[in-house]
Amino acid sequence: MTMIFGIPLQAFLGQLLIGLINGSFYALLSLGLAVIFGLLRVINFAHGAQYMLGAFAAMLMLEYFGINYWVALILGPIVVGLFGAIIERTMLSRLYDLDPLYGLLFTFGLALTIEGTFRYLYGAAGQPYSVPAQLAGGTNLGFMFLPIYRGWVVVVSLVACIGTWLLIEKTKLGAYLRAATENPVLVQAFGVNVPVLLTLTYGLGAALAAFAGVLAAPIYQVSPLMGSNIIIVVFAVVVVGGMGSIMGAILTGYMLGIAEGLTKVFYPEASNIVIFVIMAIVLLLRPAGLFGRDA
């Protein structure tokens, strides 16, 4: 058997792939958090709940309306994004003039409310959501067996991350977003409706979380707590990457997912804490994060 650093190659590549898949979710979720924080200066604690809502949207659409995975992948984020936009417009927007802590507390309360409601309605146990027929099965790569759905998750989340990055860095709308992040009052004086821009941004962030949620539904169990399980790690990713840096959030998501996967190979006991150890080290050496602009 081929060995690498004293570890079977199969195990190494297998964990690398699992790390890449986890990293895809970290990247998608931390990207949304970074976009929201950049413009709204709100730490969106409801992000995990919005991810969970995406997975539930897919499951419930299938159960009640027979809507398949492919349609849910588009429709789920739209529904959750609209929900986010309504929350921003009716509630969150009233808190912008207050201390940033209020935004954090509000979204934290919102997350507890949403998760509590779903726990009440559907119980804490996870529910299965099957892999779409077109992506069922797997392929033998020679060194390992790759479930096709997991390969799909890696590819499609990469596309979504790059797409979001292009939207922000290369389009007119993105230029408004970047400018409003720097100086919202001046952008508004130029004739751009910044309050609407904030609503759109929060809706976009929530939609990205829900997109990750729909992608996650066939891999993890669809459960009311799936969001709070992952969101703590995602916050660590954002801190390591640097708050408000879009590309930083994406790259750090993949990097930490892979770091976590590889730790499972070399020192499995540490795999649950490795991301937080990295976060502590980064905070000590570079408080603004690896890609953060200002200290």
Binding site: A175, L186, G191
Partner: protein
């Protein structure tokens, strides 16, 4: 004919502090007006209140016949008022060209990108650089240029020559004259007295949150003693 901008008994506050105490002024179409005054008398506040950035205000602001009291900030530009702030407000995460294209076009009659690059050739050369990598003078040119694209009728400038080299100040003076020839109305706050006397048609002198004098450029020589006293120069 009614003036393009009419400000009557304008009061403004920063929280508890009452900064403008009944400002009265008019700006006629095509005029270039300069507000003079010492630091802290309310010149910048006057501009920011007219634009609508400062919302704690009372009194009347009438622009092109329209009462601006209830116009939200993001509609100010659409009504024809363009603003170049004192700190210039160039965005560091945007390229020069993105900065230039950022303010939405609100009316016809603005300059085309070609005309702007002809007027400011430096910006064409550096159009792919981040906005804040430009020199101070180039940033000021960019801050003015991006408003010229939008087709606004009134250009409001807060200390456009502050901290710039004489040759750049001269260049900004030429640009303002070009704009005047095109019929643009300009309202500016300026500490550089010599610069102001070259570009302005009329002056307002501000002290303690109100206008204390108003005179055309022709009367400037006779007012020098009074100006020296009030400005302390």
């Amino acid at each position: 004919m009614a003036p393009l901008l009419q400000v009557s008994n304008l009061n403004a506050w920063y929280g508890e502090s009452h900064v403008l105490h009944g400002v009265d002024m008019t700006v006629g179409e095509g005029e270039t007006i300069t507000i003079l005054g010492r630091n802290g008398v309310g010149k910048t506040t006057t501009l920011r209140t007219i634009v609508g950035i400062i919302r704690e205000r009372k009194g009347e602001i009438r622009f092109a016949g329209k009462d601006m009291a209830n116009v939200p900030l993001h509609r100010t530009a659409h009504n024809g008022i363009g603003f170049v702030p004192e700190e210039r407000g160039i965005f560091s995460t945007l390229t020069v060209e993105e900065n230039l294209m950022l303010p939405p076009v609100v009316a016809e009659g603005g300059m085309s990108l070609e005309e702007i690059y002809e007027l400011f050739p430096n910006l064409l050369e550096r159009r792919a650089s981040p906005g804040t990598k430009l020199s101070g003078g180039e940033q000021q040119m960019l801050a003015i240029a991006r408003i010229l694209r939008t087709g606004v009728k009134l250009l409001i400038l807060d200390e456009p020559t502050e901290g710039l080299a004489p040759v750049i100040v001269q260049r900004i003076g030429e640009v303002l004259k070009t704009l005047k020839d095109r019929g643009m109305t300009v309202l500016l706050v300026e500490q550089n007295f010599r610069f102001a006397s070259r570009v302005a048609d009329r002056f307002y002198l501000m002290d303690h949150g109100r206008m204390v004098a108003d005179f055309p450029v022709g009367e400037l020589p006779g007012k020098m003693d009074m100006l020296h006293k009030v400005l302390g120069v």
